[in-house]
Amino acid sequence: MAFATAARERRRSTMSSRRRSALTGWLYASPLAVFVIVLFILPLGLVLQMSVSDWPLLGGNQGVNFPDNYVNAIDNRFFVDSVIFTLKYTVAATVLLIGLGLGLAMLVQESTRWKGFLRSSFLIPSALGLASASLLFYVLYSPSAGPFADFMERTGITFLGTPTGALWSTVFLIVWRYAGFYMLLMLVGLQGIPDEVYEAARIDGASRWQIFRRVTLPLLRPTFALTVVLCVTGSLLAFEQFYILTKGGPDNSTITVVQLIYNMAFQGQNDLGMAAALSIIVLGALIVINIFQLRAFRSPDEE
């Protein structure tokens, strides 16, 4: 389009029309530009400024404090633990969500009689906000108010009482909440694969497994790229579910990186500068991780 516009402009080659079309272009672009500046560039600039400033929550900006904020953020006694825990959670959530999403999508696609019923029942949890879903599970897991309270008392099993239990109970919530959403994305990908390819494979005598391995999976590559990037980024930024369910407990075993940022800013240290520094570190890490992911999922003919 840019070329076409340029070519047209060259043909006309009058100053006034060129100026007019430039103005129209700016007008078209300006609403988005305003949104990007107000909602993205300005907050990012503020976080950058905070991250190099001594900025207590209650006291406001107290001047430059670089690079101490970054050093202190990394020196925090929960930094390493929270990074390890976040990665662990991300791997668990991503493997389960992508696997289940694909499985559910194929189930829904194959089944004919129950298609509508299955599709809606998998998708309904996605209609619930994550915070509301977490509160729902908080009660469900509660050893005093939940429906499993008697069971927990008899067996001595608690959902959120041990580090492993807390991690998997939270992963279960996330799977329940998001599996339907990933199923939907996978379903779109599956439906994008032309029937002719399957037909050709069947004529060539391929088994179901061979079709899945050699036809479905390779052709789902763009869908995998989308879902994995979404899932990894979302999981690395996990906050609400842990904030509501575990508050980082028991014994500080379920602190995610974002929760650490929140704790630094609002729960104790009340140091916005250090929290902003950690946010910038996380932002940098996310950019690097996503560049790698997009590279890895690029289809061979794009290179």
């Binding site: 209650l58 006291g59 050893p143």
Partner: protein, 437 residues
């Protein structure tokens, strides 16, 4: 600060103003009351001791645990004054974040209450206006709770008055005591007797009934209920400057050992292990717990016959944590004179006795301790008496060291009671590290 020109609405107030010469608490914050009717040409050069009651709308923030008391106080004030207070109640966990965000954008309400353990830090950060001159002029200043006043004093200036006092007390369920063959009228005299009573009630084997309960994942609850056991034996928990933790003393270790034993014996409500504070008192209120260290503000909402005593230490004695919230005028308030009107009313007999004491709450002024309502309930007399032996710890980094979900104090308690790791000394050093930052 210069004095300001002001025409008090009421003649009486004007007279009071003339006699008690107070330098303005907020000279710069005139609130456009030039249009006030009834002002004479010769304007009074200072505000009245009672502040200004001219129909201004004041905003007041408090946290959820104080909701009941705050509602009663605001209702009573609004009914008897032209100023109207708009109360906003914020969930406990979100309160610091909300105040922080408002402080950063100069959007604090006229008045706001703060957990008394956070007050030293917030005062130092300049969130409150200096009201020393006004407080010093109060004829009953010496009667106001000293723990709260000193928590709100920074470099010799006073910023905060007590809003609602909350004391931690030993509560016991008389019915369960009787069933277990214990004397329902006599409180356990020391921690060992406390543990014995809890085990006796546990041994009843009643479904869903436990000996005792606490908030083992709630730093604030543990500070509130376990510090008094250490004070009761004459030990300290913090150095005077609030920079060093003394929580590895022999007394403190005795306290942890008692609880470790109670936990191991199964006499503690199992949910206590993960209790983050939202529901830590619930099971006692429902009558399922034999005895526990419990906030006195909940006396009025405890539906059954409960006994009340001070919190004992390993050797006996009795103490309490004088907690609750302090209240001050925010740095952003432009209605400081009207806000002061609310604060003086809050300290008056009308508020302390007719609102707080009537609701079975502890009064903030010692001269009202033996009021008519306390006389009808001997438990209130007990609470007021123990309040005199209580303490309020003061430390700038209190929140990070004790209340935060990731606090080293929580680690110490969980290690000592749940995991029995024997690392009290090292964990105590970790608290000192945070306190001295």
């Amino acid at each position: 600060m210069t004095s300001i020109l002001r025409r008090p609405r009421k003649v009486a107030a004007g007279l009071a103003a003339a006699t008690i010469a107070i330098v303005s608490l907020a000279a710069c914050s005139s609130s456009g009351d030039d249009s006030e009717p009834g002002g004479s040409a010769g304007e009074a050069p200072e505000i009245s001791a009672e502040g200004v009651d001219d129909g201004t709308t004041l905003t007041l923030w408090t946290r959820a645990p104080m909701e009941k008391q705050a509602n009663l106080l605001v209702e009573a004030y609004n009914a008897s004054h032209e100023n109207q207070v708009e109360l906003t109640v914020v969930p406990n966990d979100d309160y610091v974040a909300k105040v922080g965000a408002a402080a950063g954008s100069d959007g604090l309400p006229d008045l706001f209450a703060a957990d008394i353990v956070y007050v030293p830090n917030w005062v130092q950060q300049g969130l409150f206006q200096d009201i020393s001159t006004s407080i010093d002029a109060l004829p009953y200043k010496d009667e106001i709770n000293k723990g709260h006043l000193s928590a709100g004093t920074y470099e010799g200036s006073e910023y905060v008055l007590p809003f609602v006092l909350d004391l931690s007390m030993l509560f016991w369920n008389k019915e369960l005591f009787e069933e277990a063959g214990l004397d329902p009228e006599v409180a356990p005299a020391n921690l060992a007797e406390y543990a014995d009573a809890a085990k006796a009630i546990q041994d009843l084997g009643k479904d869903g009934v436990y000996g005792t309960a606490t908030g083992l994942n709630c730093g604030g609850c543990l500070v509130f209920t376990w510090f008094p056991s250490i004070w009761a034996d004459g030990e300290e928990v913090l150095s005077d400057d609030g920079m060093e933790s003394l929580l590895a003393s022999d007394t403190a270790k005795d306290v942890y050992a008692t609880w470790q034993d109670l936990w191991a014996s199964g006499a503690v409500l199992p949910a206590s292990q993960d209790e983050t504070g939202a529901t830590w008192t619930q099971q006692f209120t429902e009558g399922n717990i034999g005895l526990m260290f419990y906030p006195a503000t909940l006396l009025s909402s405890t539906p059954f016959d409960a006994g009340v005593a001070g919190i004992p230490g390993p050797e006996g004695g009795a103490s309490t944590f004088v907690g609750g919230d302090g209240i001050g005028i925010s740095k952003d308030s432009e209605n400081a004179d009207q806000a002061w009107n609310f604060l003086t009313w809050l300290m008056s007999e009308e508020a302390q006795v007719e609102v707080l004491a009537k609701n079975n709450d502890v009064v903030s002024r010692s001269d009202f301790a033996n009021n008519e309502y306390a006389a009808t309930d001997p438990r209130l007399v007990t609470i007021n008496e123990v309040a005199g032996n209580g303490d309020t710890p003061v430390a700038i980094n209190f929140q990070q060291a004790f209340n935060a979900p990731t606090s080293p104090w929580l680690e110490l308690v969980r290690n000592a009671v749940l995991n029995d790791t024997g690392t009290v000394d090292a964990d105590n050093d970790a608290i000192t590290d945070v306190l001295s930052q």
